[in-house]
């Protein structure tokens, strides 16, 4: 009887550790299908009308405004950390900076990374904000129109 109880204890402990590890590592993509892009095509223009005499001055920049509406209902009444993720993708390194209306945090990142835009309790089924994005890409990579994908991720606390 004693042996059975001890085995149960170790088994429970093991499950507990696995559960905890999985909870910290889990990032879920948040449903942002309610978002609306005001300008779905981002016109990329030279950041400066004139290049520099050295290797710089080749950046193209473009701005778009997106009404973000993410569905956080699965995490309602929990606390979570929401990230804006810009995966590494074609045409190459992409820099993204954004401003917000205050619901989310402003920030900037380079493709292949994610940045925290919200941390705290999830009190409403949907979270909304208007974000103004500015994309920056080397003009040497911008031979034609390219789709760029980003998403929001939730780390539940």
């Amino acid at each position: 009887m004693s042996t059975v109880q001890r085995s149960t204890f170790f088994l429970s402990l093991a499950f507990g550790i696995i559960w905890a590890a999985a909870a910290h590592a889990k990032s879920m993509t948040v449903d942002d299908s309610g978002s609306v892009t005001i300008e779905p095509t981002v016109l990329m223009r030279w950041k400066t009308a004139v290049p520099t005499r050295t290797a710089g001055g080749k950046l193209m920049v473009g701005t778009t405004t997106i009404r973000v509406r993410i569905n956080v209902m699965p995490w309602l009444k929990h606390s979570g950390r929401i990230y804006l993720a810009l995966p590494a993708q074609q045409p190459g390194p992409i820099s993204l900076s954004w401003t917000t209306q205050g619901r989310f945090l402003p920030g900037q990142l380079v493709s292949g990374n994610r940045v925290l835009v919200y941390a705290g309790p999830i009190t409403t089924p949907f979270m909304e904000d208007t974000l103004t994005f500015q994309f920056s890409v080397a003009g040497t990579l911008m031979q034609r129109a390219v789709p760029v994908t980003y998403h929001f991720e939730m780390d539940e606390e």
Binding site: V30, S35, M60, F135, T140, P147, H151
Partner: protein
């Protein structure tokens, strides 16, 4: 019984997460290059519009957000050769009426006027590096004095430099190197890599190896920039 409820709860929770994962969306925007190509060539005086206080110099320039615009001025380069020196083989330095000393790139006092003629420009294009844009000079056979007298254009040559240009800072060799005019024809006087500001200052000389009749001899050279 309590245990069973707990499993049921976890099973439901798992189902919700799966449903969320299935409906989650990544957002896509399309980045489209707009008006990506531009060329600019300036020989002598040029004009930039926009900010008028480049680096505190009072000049317009790119560093202050300036934008190049058209300037139709045709500058001249000239020399008066003393009678005693005509044809003696001693090159005669020429001077220009161009007042362009500062670079429009950064307002730097790049050329020395009236001894030097500014030449600069750029070629903007998207995509990977392409072949360079060429700058050519279309040169008449000779300068003329209006009464039948001529001086071959090959009597004029130029050297190239620029204040602050060194090998260490990568600005040497000059993008627009020295040379001598052909007498009638088109010759390449420089090439510009894409997306780079290029500039040099030219010192022109009259080689003075012939003895033309007295008079004023003129001729015009047309500089053309051609992008790939």
């Amino acid at each position: 019984m309590r245990c069973s409820l707990d499993w049921l709860h976890r099973a439901s929770l798992g189902a919700v997460f799966l449903a969320v994962a299935g409906s989650a969306a990544a957002y896509t925007v399309t980045l489209t290059p707009a008006s990506p190509e531009a060329v600019y060539l300036q020989v002598g005086n040029g004009t930039f519009a926009g900010n008028t206080n480049c680096m505190g110099s009072g000049s317009d320039c790119y560093s202050s957000g300036g934008t190049p615009v058209n300037n139709a001025t045709v500058n001249s380069v000239s020399v008066t050769v003393a009678t005693a020196a005509v044809g003696n083989g001693t090159a005669q330095a020429m001077t220009t009426n161009s007042t362009q000393a500062d670079s429009f790139w950064d307002g730097y006092a790049y050329c020395t006027v009236p001894a030097q003629l500014y030449i600069g420009g750029f070629y903007r294009t998207t995509g990977a590096a392409t072949a360079a844009a060429k700058v050519t000079a279309t040169v008449p056979a000779a300068l003329t004095n209006g009464t039948g007298g001529t001086i071959k254009f090959s009597q004029i040559s130029w050297t190239s430099s620029g204040n602050g240009d060194t090998t260490a800072n990568g600005f040497l060799p000059e993008i627009f190197p020295g040379g001598t005019f052909v007498s009638g024809g088109t010759q390449t006087v420089g090439s510009m890599a894409s997306n780079t500001w290029n500039e040099s200052c030219w010192n022109f000389s009259y080689l003075n190896t012939s003895v033309p009749g007295a008079g004023t001899y003129t001729g015009s050279v047309l500089y053309t920039m051609t992008s790939p």
